[in-house]
Amino acid sequence: MSTIGKVTGIIANLVIVEADERVAQNEICFIKHEGTRLMAEVIKIMGRKVYVQVFESTRGLKVGSEVEFAGHMLEVTLGPGLLSKNFDGLQNDLDKMTGIFLKRGEYTEALENDKEYEFEPLAKKDDIVKAGDWLGQVKENWIDHKIMVPFTFEGEYKVKSVSGKGTYKINDTMAVLTDADGKEHKVTMVQKWPVKVPIKAYTEKPRPFKVLETGVRVFDTLNPIAEGGTGFIPGPFGSGKTVLQHALSKQAEADLVVIAACGERANEVVEIFTEFPELDDPRTGRKLMERTTIIANTSNMPVAAREASVYTAMTIAEYYRSMGLKVMLLADSTSRWAQALREMSNRMEELPGPDGFPMDLPAIISNFYSRAGFVYLNNGETGSITFIGTVSPAGGNLKEPVTESTKKAARCFYALSQQRADSKRYPAIDPIESYSKYLEYPEIVEYLNKNNGENWTTNVFFIKDALLRSKETYEQINILGDDGVPLDYHTTYWKGEVVDFVISQQDAFDKIDCRSSFDRQRYMLEKVVDVLKIEFKFDSFEEVNPYFKKVINQFKQMNYSEFESDEFKKNEKELENIIQERKVA
């Protein structure tokens, strides 16, 4: 019998409920209001007083309204059919909702109960299994969606029966398992899991040792993100966060992509809704939407559900990781999530931390980032969640609590710079400020050199140095004037510019340049390093600028042409000619 309570206080979306029976922290409850049921989550219990945050508007709500506690935390439904869906933060299927405007208290099924899937068994009678083990699989779009022993099952079970090959609906019994006491448990294709609890159905979570190809050079070449790694992109508005996230979601070498649009512009989500079903996924030849799940809680949707949305997205990602898949999770923006935490903390009259954020913000953030990772599953297969979050620092100032807390939690830092954005150097990631801790991992270095040629990391550090020296020289030139510095200052500066224009910068709107494979990146990196090592002859500093502009332009023509095509080779030849003009023999 579920606990019943009664509303005794209302302040915006914080509601105080009086309840006598068992209530748990983070338990879900429903407040009855004019024929609808408003979903809420317990956030504090003080004696008989239970503080709940309502995921909807509380307009018109009255003291005395009945509250029904659900007996569980906020859960998501996991099963075939999650891909290609557009959910809200509470996993309601936005496409199933009626009408143009969202209705308060309207909740939908997450999955299609009547859809049939082709099932193929993987386990057999008498197998010993535990949570997360694969019992069978169905085809969901192009992936083999594993039907697993529910994550809530503790200990070992013996398979009593598994359904044979055939067509089934998601709620059909697919297997019967017997526990240690001989009790039988039926398993369907669907299971539920509380979003705030990490799914830990794996044996080991090693340090990441592979690199995830994103096709974006400023990531892959300069500051690579590991498969199963974490990174974040802070940047002021207008610096290109969204374009970058869209590029990652389109191109990253992941099996599937979960996007949490958390408190951001609705028109940006509409762009994904409109474009992704049309765009081809170069890896599978299918539409991009088929590997994408969107959790949309736009900025005008209820604030409390915004917090839930990032957890919902992470849980879905963990579910697919348990099937041995490479998942990429993008959250835009985690600052909005932190702000939602601040609003609630404020209403609860908690003592505030810096900038009014809750004191435990750093803990909440690092806890969330730690759910990403590369794992070995029970059966030895691997799966991963690579997580990249954006941060929207107030006033573009990186010394604010959300950026600082995230910096402690994430291993890669991609600093978007207003200055670069203003001078249209896109992606506006500052190649010097940004870092990837993974470049310090011996296993990653080994992996990169094995896959991209033995000189790869040496070359990467070489061009990083070139960028840094170029920047320093540029400052000198600015102070002393063009003719006040030795001639080679100018070449040093321009060599850094070559790296910037050819490698750091990339045209996200060009259909060839937008995506650069590792093969191509290796080729271009070697090419650039070769040019940087050449000694050029100039008579005066005035010759340096036009010459290098020509070099850069020719390099860019290469970037714009199909890799290894005739045009590419023609442009490369032309570049050779330009280099010979001033090369010191």
């Binding site: 018109g60 709500l61 009255k62 002021p236 512009r265 028109n267 900025s299 949707m301 006033g395």
Partner: protein, 441 residues
Amino acid sequence: MEKDTKAFQRIYTKLFQLTKATVSLQATGIGNEELAIVDGRLAQVVKIMEDIVTLQVFAGTEGIANDAEVIFTGKAPTLKVGEGLAGRFFNAYGEPMDGGEIMGEEREIGGPSVNPVRRMQPSEFIATGIAGIDLNNALVTGQKIPFFADPDQPYNQVMAMVALRAQADKIILGGVGLTNDDYLYFKRVFDDAGALDRIVGFINTTENPPVERLLVPDMALSAAEYYAAEKNEKVLVLLTDLTLYADALSIVSNRMDQIPSKDSMPGSLYSDLARLYEKAVQFPDGGSITIIAVTTLSSGDITHAIPDNTGYITEGQLFLRKDSDIGKVIVDPFRSLSRLKQLVIGKKTREDHPQVMNAAVRLYADAANAKTKLENGFDLTDYDERTLDFAKAYSEKLLAIDVNVEVDVMLETAYELFAKHFTPVEVGLKKEFVEKYWKEN
């Protein structure tokens, strides 16, 4: 202490707590956010604890006694919508300023948001005739964009101009802390243009209590939703000045003892502003709401919490700047940005629009560099000199806000300026466009 007047309406006369902005009393059966009349002034429920109800009195509590009459209305703030709205001006409560009644259906303001999957991608170009906007920062129906301007800049004039040229079916003016002079200005300009029948105004002037302002944007947007969602009309909403709206929010949050965050603004500022701006939408049946707002800055500081949060919400921003070279106000091509322009330029406008736009801005940037060189006492090259000449002409003929021409004329003008000052190679347009459109002198 209570007596029945009408059915469901009880009068309370015992207030036990009064602050500058709120009153508290004992009452039962009251809904959250419900409206009440306190001593003849409108108030709204902001907090309920057991049987203690706290009301925020919009006009302030000056002179209210602890035995004042409180009548609960049983409903949240509403607006009566109907054909009769057009051509009228209303106060923050949605009452016609010239008296009289509006016939129509009563709607709660600040209603639910549009389901994101039911939105359409904005795709219709809004021509304003101002080249600084149409050429460099094209606006699209369903977009939300503010002017970031210092208080001394003529943002209200520019906004009125944009509104009249924008060929919207309805223009809804939300005056938030408008000076009475500016209110009369808007009224006169719309009247002179013979456009009054397309205008609906919700006006809170500086003469009215600041907290009342909080109702104005919701009133304006509810009227906009009526025309856009039900009548499938193209609606343009003008909100000026949302900095004053945010200031009013901070007053309320301060009186509610909430902990302020950056710049003394409430922690919920982002959500509060997003709730308004996100009403901008392209509906599937052709109706749309486009929001042009004003955020006044304090001496150009965009890192302040109000413009900063606004920038993260809106789809770009427009900066006005006085160009001392030509003595006119221009739309700053560097700091202004329309995030949605890509959806229309070169698609709904001529194919070469994006290239011409970028080339002109790049040359203008070269001029800015030349200027810095000049200021630092370095010599100018011939190219530098030419960029400076170009910049002046570009400012005068295209960026100035008094320009009013079609996009094709803007493009032609740009080519004329290019040809006068540069070679095609220096401008760097695609070859096919040079062949097709370049104008030899």
